[in-house]
Point group: C2
Chain length 281, copies 2
């Protein structure tokens, strides 16, 4: 595995690969890799000939009181995992390389970024859209793989790629879970044993709602109330949102029909966790 | 000359040219070409092997009460001129092709777009940065040529290209003027004979300020007042701004030193005209 830290070198290597007819697959990450990331990289490995993974803890997607400084980092473990899973190039830029003095350009995806996580993290998706645009311009991939766990992020990126004519395919890979159902996340690291046990309720609540719908329940208010009760039952849980939204504009649904995203964000101590289910009604 | 109307076809042709080792030069325009545009295209012709010119009157860079509907258009004359000057590909997308339903992604270059023309045209540069980003992603050029006449636009594009790691070179070509000094612009078309005569004062005022500086004048207030008097002397002129700014942040200067951009915008009837001089003090 080759490690590239400089933008110009990465662009040069990408150009060479493209012109040699090699399909470039890309997985952008913030590091502290878990099985969720590894499944994205395996997917990129299957779909492409040159696999590039970036590790960059992007400051502009963290709010002023969020966990940028404390976000977990372990580069040597990450590098080992990347080698095991068949990554060809690790792109590892510094903050100064990515945001030089005088930096002032941003990408906004307006309609999809005000709701759900955008409501409590107002500049988060602007930071994500901007850094992903930069990374696409640097890595020049034919395809990039994102996780379904960050459902809203995947929608925002898809919309941005379409709107700005970024010439690549976005692949969304399924959420990977711990054996007991908790969605994999680097932020699970923050959980105390009690919070870790309580956090199981997220997937349980999603599954309960899904089962109810399969059994014919169509009352969204009833489902949200049921999920709220289940989650509030856990002492360490603080609900940010529980939403049933359409999969085009991510607007709250009045009726359960078609493709439905059930999404939630809940705080457990220092960890703000998200999870979701994408279902067909 | 080949005419391409579809984004996917343009991207394919661009990829093929790049991988065949042909340098792609690009000149984005809104059509109604004049000698200023043609000089940009000649410059692209000299610097590259495949010259792409786009004609697209971009609705998102016009304000609600501006001249989008009435912006002059003459495609058959434009096509003839493009052939004469050695354009290889005319990229000619429709508004629907560029802004499909649900479009909601925009590029903002924050620090450079609030002042000068940005003050009276608040969403103009957002529209410009967005459409130029799209066109760069579609045409995939090695270099793009912009005119010094639109000085602020050139600064904004340069900053955006650096910030977002768009992998191309920006070339800025000198302003082309009518024999009597008026800067070439598609909007000169709007001028009545009286306004056309009055509009000469723009370049005269710029030259007067430059001469004063060469002779040792360093008082910006004195220079602005002198230029204001010259322009206000013309009945049909309505000044938007006259500014002396630095060439990094486009901020108003307190002292005349280093690289200085003297920029102005003045309305003559329906036509809002801009002009500038870039000087070293």
């Amino acid at each position: 595995m080759k490690v590239i830290k400089k933008i110009l070198q990465m662009q040069k290597v990408a150009d060479e690969a493209r012109c040699a007819g090699r399909k470039v697959g890309f997985v952008p990450t913030m590091g502290y890799l878990h099985k969720g990331h590894l499944s994205l990289i395996r997917q990129a490995r299957q779909l492409s000939e040159l696999v590039v993974v970036s590790i960059f803890v992007n400051p502009t997607q963290f709010g002023p009181h969020e966990d940028y400084q404390n976000y977990p980092r372990d580069l040597s473990r990450d590098a080992k995992l990347l080698r095991q899973v068949g990554c060809d190039i690790l792109f590892l830029p510094s903050v100064e390389e990515m945001y030089p003095q005088g930096y002032c350009s941003y990408v906004d995806v307006e309609n999809l970024t005000q709701l759900l996580c955008g409501a409590s993290r107002p500049s988060h998706f602007r930071g994500v859209a901007t850094v992903v645009t930069k990374l696409f311009n640097i890595v020049k991939p034919h395809l990039a793989v994102f996780g379904q766990k960050d459902a809203q992020q995947a929608f925002v990126i898809r919309r941005m790629v379409t709107d700005l004519n970024q010439d690549l395919e976005i692949v969304v890979a399924p959420t990977i879970r711990e054996p007991d159902g908790l969605a994999m996340s680097s932020r699970n690291e923050y959980l105390t044993p009690q919070e870790r046990a309580d956090a199981l309720v997220l997937y349980q609540a999603l599954k309960w709602a899904h089962e109810q719908i399969v059994e014919g329940q169509r009352n969204i208010e009833y489902l949200v109330q049921g999920m709220t009760k289940m989650i509030q039952n856990k002492k360490t849980a603080q609900i940010d949102y529980i939403s049933f939204v359409d999969t085009e504009k991510l607007h709250s649904l009045k009726r359960l029909e078609g493709e439905v995203l059930i999404a939630l964000a809940v705080k457990f101590g220092r960890a703000r966790l998200i999870d979701n289910l994408l279902i067909k009604v």
